[in-house]
């Protein structure tokens, strides 16, 4: 089934043919404690401590929280607020590598997932700090623990990789097909579902063939080649394209019986259980016209951006923008000392002439954004409202359903910064809702005390 809206940006998947290469060991790593959506963990190490590779640096605080682990062995140089890809400095552990890459003795491999019960698998996945590698970095064990009243019957494996330039998932599907499908089986066991659906965009038929070939006999998966259209990899649109179910506004995939996981996450879950290995590395595409030697890199989490760029031959003199993620939803970086983290699917280096800073003009109501919005919103009207700071009206326009995919701004002939407006608008509208909730609560309490007095 095809969703309406969406756009067809130039795909630039130039790195699709490059094998994943492991990044050499670095001199230092900066491991932020918060690399996931949810509560940041509690730091377990202090300045001067010696740590081993894979040793936990933090422990989860509550259910929606995961630990982070040391990418190599060495000494803790500092635990401080350090540059973070999200923009503002956040608590991180800086490790000076000792070059021994000595493994931690506490690793606890569980062996074959087929013989383990779901609760043990979930615990292992959380302890390994596994988060969704698609970019949103939601803790995987939480997604794999739907409440009993949600009847989940389908695991969706997201191999769409609809962001231009990025090829990390593509390479993982080609080079680690067997592990991806084992991971799918494992996650199906955790969820207790008997059906899995693998969705891949039609520009990667080789990935689909590889996964199909590698699928173990006891993993009941269907493989579907999807239209190549951005944002095919958006959870809601992927589910709709695969099985026709529509996640309701404000809802989650589990509301329609689905759980969506990224291909890299499947591998991470398998490694966490089979080998007891925490998530300390990921595959990231380093690409763009302004990088000298593009790569698909297996990077240890915490590797500083500067070192990664240097490993890829450095940037060209005309570099204009360095982005973590893809060109549609990625985050522009201004500090080359930020580390690559679990959610960094790629580093995109654009040239000056590709990274023009637009001055948005007035909306000419051409309706291109309305046609492009995959969520059925009216970005033109919402942009005008947000521009005038009338945030309390944005709720009526379903601003919270905006997935920030950027399709509207991509087509806007006036180059209006629509996504920026909606990001701010969402935050402001959430604040207004919170304020209203607090006020009703206060009023109720006051009425109560008045009644008892």
């Amino acid at each position: 089934m095809k969703f309406s809206g969406g756009v067809h940006p130039a795909y630039h998947k130039d790195t699709a043919g490059l094998q994943i290469e492991a990044m050499p060991l670095l001199h230092r790593y900066v491991v932020p404690i918060a690399q996931h959506l949810g509560a940041p963990g509690k730091v377990l190490v202090a300045k001067g401590d010696r740590v081993a590779r894979w040793q936990p640096l933090s422990e989860p605080v509550g259910f929606v929280s995961v630990p982070v682990h040391a990418p190599t062995s060495g000494t803790v140089k500092q635990v401080a607020a350090l540059p973070h890809p999200l923009g503002r400095p956040m608590l991180a552990v800086e490790i000076e590598s000792d070059g021994e890459d000595r493994p931690w003795e506490g690793l606890a491999p569980l062996g074959d997932w087929r013989t383990l019960d779901p609760a043990a698998l979930r615990r292992a996945i959380q302890a390994a700090g596994v988060v969704g590698l698609g970019g949103a970095t939601f803790p995987t064990h939480v997604k794999l623990s739907p409440p009993a009243e949600k009847k989940v019957d389908l695991l969706v494996l997201n191999g769409a990789e609809c962001e231009p330039y990025l090829t990390a998932d593509h390479r993982v599907m080609l080079e680690q097909a067997a592990e991806v499908m084992e991971g799918v089986g494992l996650m199906m066991r955790v969820l207790g579902v008997s059906r899995a659906c693998v969705g891949i965009e039609s520009n990667k038929p080789d990935a689909l063939a590889a996964l199909r070939r590698a699928c173990p006999a006891d993993v009941a998966a269907e493989f579907v080649l999807l239209e190549t259209k951005y944002p095919q990899g958006s959870e809601k649109h992927l589910i709709y394209a695969l099985c026709g179910r529509r996640v309701p506004p404000g809802g989650l995939p589990m509301d329609v019986g689905c759980v969506v996981q990224n291909v890299g996450t499947a591998v991470a879950c398998l490694e966490a259980v089979r080998d007891g290995l925490p998530m300390t590395e990921r595959v990231a595409t380093v690409t763009g016209a302004a990088i000298n030697v593009p790569h698909n890199l297996r990077v240890r989490v915490g590797a500083p951006l500067l070192d990664v760029l240097a490993h890829c031959g450095g940037v060209t003199p005309d570099v204009g923008k360095v982005i973590f993620g893809g060109p549609m939803m990625g985050i522009g970086q201004f500090d080359m000392d930020v580390p690559l983290i679990k959610g960094t699917s790629g580093v995109l280096c654009l040239r000056d002439d590709e990274a023009v800073l637009y001055e948005g003009g007035p909306c000419i109501r051409c309706g291109a954004c309305v046609d492009a919005c995959p969520m059925g919103l009216v970005p033109s009207a919402m942009g005008l409202i947000a521009e005038r700071f009338r945030f309390e009206e944005l709720g009526d326009w379903h601003v919270l359903d905006c997935i920030e995919c950027g399709s509207c701004a991509y087509v806007c002939p006036s180059r209006r910064p629509l996504v920026q407006h909606f990001k701010r608008g969402k935050a402001e509208w959430r604040d207004i809702l919170e304020e209203r909730r607090a006020r009703t609560e206060r009023d109720a309490k006051r009425a109560e005390t008045a009644a008892t007095a």
């Binding site: 529509r246 060109p327 990274a355 007035p362």
Partner: protein
């Protein structure tokens, strides 16, 4: 700036990478919100496409009405550009001449005037179009009514004689003080009004209507040339099909029913489709993005409304021509239409997923 590779052989820790030249600093990099790429089209591009699409109709008008038409065109474009510049100057905003929108307004205004219009009429029209039609609302994007049509209707009401003195087309050599006559629709209206029949009006044949060898505003006469330009706009993705198709379909339908019921007093729908300002209106004026709805469903309603009002005014109204009034009235309805036709948010479906599964 090149960065010195700071990595050694596998397994050996290396010194941190140090840039050879100056390090990359925030100054050098652009940091802005996503998306970081763009489809490439912009407002000047859209306006240039519209101008290109107007070219066939413009050339046909110049061919049939000669120098008089050229004079009106030059005056209108110059007047609109000057007014746009002056308005920006007045409110101390940067001049917006480069977005081509004032040129489009000027060309459309010119095409909506008789080729024999006196110079002051054209200049007043330009000032009304840009000043009263657009600038007072805040410029491009904020005007509720199509600026060229605001000017045309203003002139029609204020200077009815000059605005209905139609030059008879005589080819490129048409003199500036050429003979004048009626438009096909005007002739029919007059004949029927005097109790005669459509046939008595002696209206030109369909072939003349198609190529444009008839009296009228100089840019509206050649249905064929305008249709060509309109189709090209559609193919380029600048306009959406809903407005012109709904517009032409509903006008044809209503005038067709009237014609079938009483052919003696109501002209054939083909005359209504090819005559008057319908082609210019349906393809170039009603499709004005700023003053029409944003959703496709809305555009369909908008186009149908334009078609219905045009037919009603032409058949039963006081004026022989109703395209301008119809479009302006529907411009006024645009905010309402936008409200009614808000698309359904993804997932807000009546159909539950279990039904989708069963299907």
């Amino acid at each position: 700036m090149t960065l010195e590779p700071g990595t050694g052989p596998d397994g050996v820790p290396t010194e941190p990478a140090t840039p050879v030249a100056e390090p990359i600093t925030p100054r050098d990099l652009i940091v802005s919100a996503s998306p970081h790429v763009h489809a490439g089209q912009d407002v000047p591009w859209i306006m240039r496409q519209v101008l290109l699409a107007l070219l066939p109709g413009l050339l046909a008008g110049l061919w049939f009405f000669g120098l008089g038409a050229l004079r009106v065109l030059v005056l209108a474009v110059a007047g609109c550009l000057a007014c746009e510049w002056a308005c920006a100057r007045l409110v101390k905003r940067p001049a917006t001449l480069r977005d081509y929108s004032a040129v489009v307004t000027g060309v459309l205004l010119a095409m909506n005037l008789p080729s024999g219009s006196p110079w002051w009429l054209v200049l007043i029209g330009s000032i009304v179009a840009i000043g009263l039609g657009k600038a007072v609302y805040g410029g491009l994007g904020y005007n509720p009514f199509n600026p060229a049509l605001v000017a045309r209707v203003f002139l029609l009401i204020s200077f009815p004689v000059q605005m209905t003195t139609w030059v008879v087309p005589q080819g490129p050599g048409t003199a500036l003080d050429a003979a004048t006559g009626a438009t096909p629709l005007g002739a029919i209206k007059e004949a029927v009004g005097l109790g005669r029949t459509v046939a008595d009006a002696g209206a030109p044949g369909l072939r003349d209507l198609l190529v444009g060898n008839v009296g009228g505003s100089f840019g509206e006469v050649s249905a064929l040339a305008l249709l060509l330009g309109g189709l090209w706009l559609l193919w380029r993705g600048v306009i959406r099909w809903q407005v012109p198709v709904a517009f032409m379909a509903v006008t044809s339908l209503v005038t067709g029913i009237a014609h079938l019921a009483d052919p003696a007093h109501y002209a054939s729908p083909l005359v209504h489709l090819l005559g008057g300002g319908l082609m210019l209106g349906a393809w170039f004026m009603a499709t004005d993005m700023v003053t029409s709805p944003v959703t496709r469903r809305g555009l369909l309603i908008f186009g149908a409304g334009c078609g219905l009002l045009t037919a009603v005014i032409r058949l039963w109204g006081g004026y022989p021509e109703g395209v301008s009034f119809a479009i302006l009235l529907m411009n006024a309805a645009t905010p309402l239409i936008d409200r009614w036709t808000r698309p359904r948010v993804f997932g807000e479906a009546r159909k539950l997923y279990r039904e989708a599964d069963a299907a």
